[in-house]
Symmetry: C2
Subunit: 135 residues, 2 copies
Amino acid sequence: MKLVSTRGRYALRVIIDLAEHDSGSYIPMKEIAMRQGISLKYLEQIMPVLMKNKVIDGASGKGGGYKLNRPPEDYKVWDILTLTEGSLAPVACLDCDAEKCERESECRTLPMWKKYQEMTEDFFNNISVADLMKK
Amino acid sequence: MKLVSTRGRYALRVIIDLAEHDSGSYIPMKEIAMRQGISLKYLEQIMPVLMKNKVIDGASGKGGGYKLNRPPEDYKVWDILTLTEGSLAPVACLDCDAEKCERESECRTLPMWKKYQEMTEDFFNNISVADLMKK
DNA sequence: TAATCAACCTACTCGATTAGTAGGAATATA
DNA sequence: TATATTCCTACTAATCGAGTAGGTTGATTA
């Protein structure tokens, strides 16, 4: 089973692409889709999520596209992934909308899952888009 | 998205249960299914995997069931999870049977995923069933 | 104003996976 | 032989992943 699907991975790659090709003006998704070899139509339904969460700026119409609204250092991988993936919980028990488990108090494994989740958050919170850009 | 499904989680809980109720003789799955609130029929198709990989001993017929064949310290969470889950790769690109990615050499994110994968393996390799048992 | 280019939105699809059920066969014990 | 157990295979219903499809709206420019 996978923790991160194409949604999160693609989103991340797009943000990195935007950072690497930043010229101040909007970059059309078509360009990035070509460059990254990702379906444009698929991207079109991933990007609005980031847009609505003020992660990137977007503009419709001719000359439109997307661009970053902060320096690459300010983009944490964790934020991009959780926005696009939803949760990044290692197990269903720790999902945001998980119904409360009866065995919670006596569960031998829950503390381990929690610790792993924290470790995961720390890991991806300590990596920024700037860290992932070509030097 | 989740990394670990019920298969891995149940398997782990069963092993812990076997460890906690170890008396030297075989423990029928029915007992554990009741104790853990897990479908017996479902467990019946998870356990043979562990059996075939010599992780536990099993016996059919009256008085049969399963039991551990080593001390709990020797059971690493990583081994139980990978056997039942298959891979535990954070992304498809790192799956065992992933077709080679063309962008591999230029991918900005792959090193990060690899590092995360190693961290994951370390984490679960450093936890044994003994660590998870009730003290 | 019209053409064009871009994001936006909604619906649909196809296959794989998850979390089981179901039913019986094989095996071992008393 | 009756009983208790694992073993094996097939089936299923729901969800999710990874798109495809087609049209709408918004902005620029000729």
